[in-house]
């Protein structure tokens, strides 16, 4: 079995290729920095492993996702490299390729995006390119899978060359420096010395930390200084080593490109630029973004989503329940089992499944946003606002992803270069209203705000963003001061999203929700039902005497000032920590109703519209769910920040709900 690493510049189609070669599905999107951690898959031949890595421009990292790649090269075993190049940006892509060849592992190049290059009038002679580099170059269309089988055969085959490891001559000073490092290490490291030395001279801190394990830090630093000094002595130019290395590589690349690529001038304005004139327009940029959001909410919560969910609800509570009841009767099951299945599982799991259509619509839109290339534009348009609160536009991408699910949102923060901004983004992304909170809104707006469903839900989403921005300002003025913020974003060309890719992306997000309903929510429903079924005085009692009521009752008084001091509300808030959609399944079980519609009717008895809004605001903000909390811990590596993320959310949620409920009452609302 071989390990083959997939590496290349960001947004060149690595993950698309990975999906095609391994038949799996990992996250694909049209912006730089979609993949933020290493993913392993098995080739269709069932033997060799393919490892998908985050995209990098060079092996000298600036951000955490890029660090993943450097760490991989330093610490993990692999046999071959599969380097993906974007044919339309050959120059920039080859900088990485040269570094890979210096590493000296067997490498194969997959040339992707040939269609884009062709549109720009760029012609590439694959034979010449392969000859110049000394490695096999294979054309692929990673998106459609064309050429993928041939590529798979090539990389898993026996004839993979290393290419020319000494393509670039860096001048006497640097070349001597490489030899000196080799002497210092004296065969103690297994990694290729030439590569280590060049990375060190370029200022790669990961490589430096690695070398410090073998050679004293003073020696390393004096080596770097003396190489820089001798370069200046020999050539008289004042460039830093990093600049010299970059320039030497550029010179070699210019020769390679001159020999293998030609360019016809293409005067027609690309479609991408025409679209950009509108969506990043001075005046229209933000309004267009808001309009799209509004459209998305209307479709999800009003025009399309609601009727679909209602139909599903009718189906589940009608034929399905009837069918199961009949089946249970036929099997002659006991009353206990009947109750458990009908009032516990069907109510709990069914109550969540009802929202599948709405969730899929939302995910469809998020996928559309991701795959079209608009995401990076949103980051650009939002940068000014984000800068004002101490973040940068890139932080908006994790937040948008967070609308689907907070977990990948928090992961996406890895691409933010400055640690302070990254931490803030991690802490604030849970305030984005994820899809699991959607059922709660759907239930309550259906019961209380039937006229303005989408608008009320939109107000909650906006509230989440506004609270996040205000807190960002507060945090950056108090807890997380200092550090300059930086913002450079690549704006990829728009790509027409393809039906298949869109569907896969939507399904990949949505299936998590369905799966959770079948496992987590299922188990939770059983537990909740049991807690509601039994109490200190025995089983099958009135629910108000159950353990669940006792548990909820302890905390209920706390919530009275914010409008929902019932044991039912506090009990469902508890389960909401495990997964937000549990709130709904718990309510379904507690209120003991056959379907969504009657639950809504019942809600009107237990809540006033004002209390309902206060409840929704509380749900929006009060706590990151269990999976999110675990991700925050994993990404910050700090128990304190994890505890903080829970603590501040609870506080803010309570204060805001209090202000809304009490304030609303003052104004005579109810």
């Amino acid at each position: 079995m071989m390990n083959i690493a997939l590496i290349g510049n960001p947004n060149t189609g690595k993950t698309s290729l990975f999906n095609n070669l391994t038949g799996s599905y990992e996250y694909v999107g049209n912006w730089s920095g979609v993949t933020v951690e290493k993913k392993v898959g098995v080739f269709k031949n069932g033997e060799d492993q393919l490892i998908d890595l985050p995209g990098v421009y060079t092996l000298n990292p600036l951000s955490k996702d890029e660090g993943v790649v450097t760490n991989f090269f330093l610490n993990e075993p692999f046999e071959k490299l599969l380097n993906i190049l974007d044919a339309s940006q050959l120059r920039r892509n080859l900088h990485l390729t040269l570094q890979l060849m210096e590493y000296g592992a067997p490498v194969i190049i997959g040339l992707n995006m040939l269609d884009v290059a062709k549109n720009r009038g760029i012609q590439i002679d694959i034979g010449k390119l392969s000859e110049a580099l000394g490695v096999t170059v294979a054309p692929v269309v990673a998106r459609s899978g064309k050429g993928c089988d041939e590529l798979a055969e090539l990389v898993t085959g026996d004839f993979v060359g290393m290419g020319k490891t000494n393509l670039v001559y860096y001048g006497k000073a640097i070349e001597d420096g490489i030899l000196r490092l080799a002497n210092m290490l004296d065969g103690r490291v297994k990694l290729p010395i030439r590569w280590l030395a060049l990375q060190l001279f370029e200022g790669n801190s990961y490589v430096k930390d690695y070398l410090v394990k073998y050679v004293a830090i003073e020696e390393i630093e004096s080596l770097i200084l003396s190489v820089a000094d001798s370069h200046f002595q020999l050539s008289g130019d004042k460039q830093t080593l990093e600049q010299v290395i970059y320039r030497k590589r550029s010179e070699t690349i210019d020769k390679i490109v001159a020999a293998s690529a030609s360019r016809k001038d293409n005067k027609k304005v690309p479609l991408t630029e025409k679209v950009d004139m509108i969506v990043t327009n001075k005046f229209l940029g933000i309004p267009i973004f808001l309009l799209m959001m509004y459209f998305m909410f209307m479709l999800t919560f009003d025009w399309l989503g609601f009727p679909l969910s209602d139909a599903l609800d009718a189906f589940l509570s009608g034929p399905v329940t009837a069918g199961i009841t009949a089946a249970l009767a036929a099997a002659g099951s006991s009353q206990f089992i009947n109750d458990l299945i009908l009032d516990g599982i069907i109510a709990g799991v069914g109550g969540v499944l009802v929202f599948v259509p709405q969730i899929f619509i939302l995910f469809f839109f998020i996928s559309l946003l991701e795959d079209s290339g608009y995401m990076a534009r949103v980051a650009l348009v939002m940068d000014r606002l984000m800068e004002a609160v101490g973040l940068n536009g890139k932080a908006f991408i994790p937040m948008m992803i967070g609308f689907g699910c907070n977990v990948p949102g928090i992961m996406a923060a890895r691409t933010i270069e400055t640690p302070k901004e990254r931490l803030m983004t991690i802490l604030l992304t849970p305030l984005m209203s994820c899809s699991a909170r959607l059922p709660v809104y759907a239930l309550f707006v259906g019961a209380f705000f039937i006229q303005h469903k989408a608008l009320v839900v939109l107000s909650l989403y906006v509230l989440g963003v506004v609270v996040a921005l205000i807190l960002a300002k507060v945090f950056s003025k108090t807890l997380l001061k200092g550090e300059t913020s930086l913002f450079v974003i690549e704006l990829p060309p728009y790509r027409m999203p393809q039906a298949r890719a869109l569907w896969r992306s939507t399904w990949d997000k949505g299936k998590g929700f369905v799966k959770k309903a079948g496992t987590f929510i299922f188990a939770g429903s059983v537990l909740i039902w049991l807690l509601a079924y039994a109490g200190p005085e025995g089983a099958n009692i009135s629910m108000d005497d159950s353990y669940l009521a006792a548990l909820g009752g302890i905390f209920a008084p706390l919530f009275a000032p914010i409008g929902f001091g019932t044991w039912q509300a506090s009990a469902s808030l508890f389960t909401g920590f495990l997964a937000k959609e549990s709130i709904i399944s718990t309510m379904n079980i507690i209120y003991y109703v056959p379907d969504e519609a009657s639950l809504q009717g019942l809600m009107a008895v237990h809540y006033t519209p004002l209390a309902a809004y206060s409840f929704m605001v509380f749900i929006l903000l009060y706590i990151p769910c269990l999976a999110t909390t675990a991700t925050i811990y994993k990404e910050t590596g700090s128990k304190r920040w994890t505890a903080f993320s829970i603590g501040y959310a609870l506080l803010i949620a309570y204060l805001l709900s209090l202000a809304i409920y009490q304030g609303g009452k003052l104004f005579g609302l109810s």
Partner: protein, 74 residues
């Protein structure tokens, strides 16, 4: 200065050393350095970022940084 160009104007980068170290590094990663030709595609309001095009790719940077990059109008 790059930040002074109007939307649609083109220029060649003369000196980039005034820009922030990280910004410079990122631009270099994207193949933008002294000598690169750039074209300002659009400028966002309220002192927001600028979108520039160079060698067929579009990049957004802050106005503040663009104001530290010397260009020669073309």
């Amino acid at each position: 200065m790059l930040g002074k160009l109007k939307a649609g104007e083109k220029g060649r980068i003369m000196n980039i050393s005034g820009a922030d170290k990280f910004v410079r590094r990122r631009l270099l990663d994207l193949g933008i350095a002294e000598g690169s030709e750039v074209c300002v595609k659009c400028i966002l309001p309220f002192g927001g970022p600028v979108m520039i095009e160079s060698c067929g790719q579009c990049i957004g940077i802050r106005r503040k940084e663009a104001l530290r990059i010397e260009v020669e109008r073309a």
